[in-house]
């Protein structure tokens, strides 16, 4: 994927962020806050689980272009996944950000952040959502 393509995917997911908003029926969702202590990104993540499957994800908050776009992309990829699949995807995503081995195929659009390791200060932005939802899913399998 070239840089123009990456940029346009990121911008599209920032300007028209998918799944953004507070759920109407928030009682059906588990909520967790994710923030970056070193900067100002701050979102609330809402996840609806049913029979071991992620049925829906919503989020709301204030964060930078990298944090919001990655939240949009990864949340879209996780909806409909089993907890096991979700954790596998998230694990691969963290590996990519940390420049470890990962399954490129599995990450689809999230590959737009494959060079994020070159900007260490923005790694926390790119993992704002992934860290939050990983914590939320802990022990739910």
């Amino acid at each position: 994927m070239d840089n123009d393509m990456k940029r346009s995917i990121i911008l599209d997911n920032y300007s028209n962020a998918r799944n953004r908003g507070i759920p109407d029926n928030s009682d059906d969702y588990i909520m967790i806050n994710s923030n970056n202590q070193s900067c100002i990104d701050n979102i609330n993540i809402y996840v609806k689980l049913k029979d071991g499957v992620i049925e829906d994800i919503k989020y709301e908050g204030e964060a930078c272009v990298i944090a919001i776009s990655s939240t949009s992309i990864i949340s879209s990829m996780l909806i409909g996944k089993t907890l096991k699949e979700a954790n596998e995807l998230l694990g691969n995503y963290f590996n990519m950000i940390e420049e470890k081995e990962y399954d490129k195929e599995l990450l689809g659009e999230a590959n737009v952040y494959e060079d994020m390791y070159k900007q260490p200060s923005r790694k926390t932005c790119a993992t704002l959502f992934a860290r939050g939802i990983t914590n939320l899913l802990k022990g739910k399998e």
């Binding site: 990456k6 940029r7 990121i10 911008l11 900067c39 100002i40 990104d41 701050n42 204030e62 964060a63 930078c64 272009v65 919001i68």
Partner: protein, 399 residues
Amino acid sequence: MNREDFTILKDSNMVYFDNGATTLKPDCVRDAVIDYYNKYTASIHRGDYKNSLKVSAMYDDTREIIRKFINANHPSEIIFTAGTTDSLNDIVFGYFRHHLVKGDEILITETEHASNVLPWFILAKEIGVVVKYISLNDNNELTIDNLRNAITDKTKVVSIAHITNVIGDVRDIKEIAKECHSHNILLVVDAAQSIAHIKVDVTDMDIDFMAFSGHKIYGPTGIGVLYGKFNLLKELTPVAYGGGMNAIFNKDGYVEYKDLPDKLEAGTPNIEGVLGLGKSILYVDKIGIDKINKYETELRKYLVDKLSELDFITMYNKDNEAAIITFNIDNVFSQDAAIYLDKYNICVRAGNHCAKMTKDVFNVANTVRISLSFYNTKEEIDLLVNVLKNSKNIWEEIL
């Protein structure tokens, strides 16, 4: 003006607009710190050799430099601390913890910095005092009428910034002090954002306690000042105990403390910081605080006028006074804006600026802040405005 005094500004295209966070240091301050290490390293008040005597004298002289600068009555009213936060914590936990009782009220505002909020919150939890907020007017300023309306017969303390760090409103401390004292209320002033930009005269303003940081007035980091009227400081219980502050102590637990100011400066102090701070105060005094204020006010007006021409910029404190401008580029998160400006070596602050309650005042949590100094120029502002004009390319630049 005076840019030639700063090595960091020589042969550099850096535009430093984050003076509210910390200021750059002139060469004379750097040299004062280096000289202490290169020429006369010694502890103070403990040695009988030449260097110790020399450094002790310089350390004590610095107290007088600061006394004179803020027009305190006596050098013993100047206590060296680690900074504004440290000073405010000393005031809250050394003085007020021992002088307030359950139900007493403390008045602050929603635009205070964390260091003038959190100590009071903790004190409220510890001893049951109540923290209340003075309402601000439509321009987010503190008026005497609003202060008067907030005062009750339980109000014991008003604790406010002289200049707030996000709005940049300048409070009329002298009038506020008059109002406080007519109700037997003590006034604590956080002068972190004002000390380098406007005349602070603790006697004329009749301030009871005051705090400021050295690094915001062109001095080193890790050094600050706690000012208190002598009779109040005398009643301030030390928060730290140890060497340098005791006169006598015996095996049976008997302790006698030294007099002010030593009683409140336990341990070997930040000597390089004190010497650097003394130099920075002399430096500012030499340029003249009124001259600095006049120049920065002009510069602020220039910046506001220029930013007003840009229809994609929202300014939040256009009509306030101090040389602090808070804004956003429409539809751009403040941190992304700061990263974009950094591509052009323009240093600004993005975020909530440690004043997290201000979001309720602006209805926006995060902003870009420009805080000016006398070394900034109209040319730098022109550069900023040009870069902002091109900010439609922001994503090509930062992604």
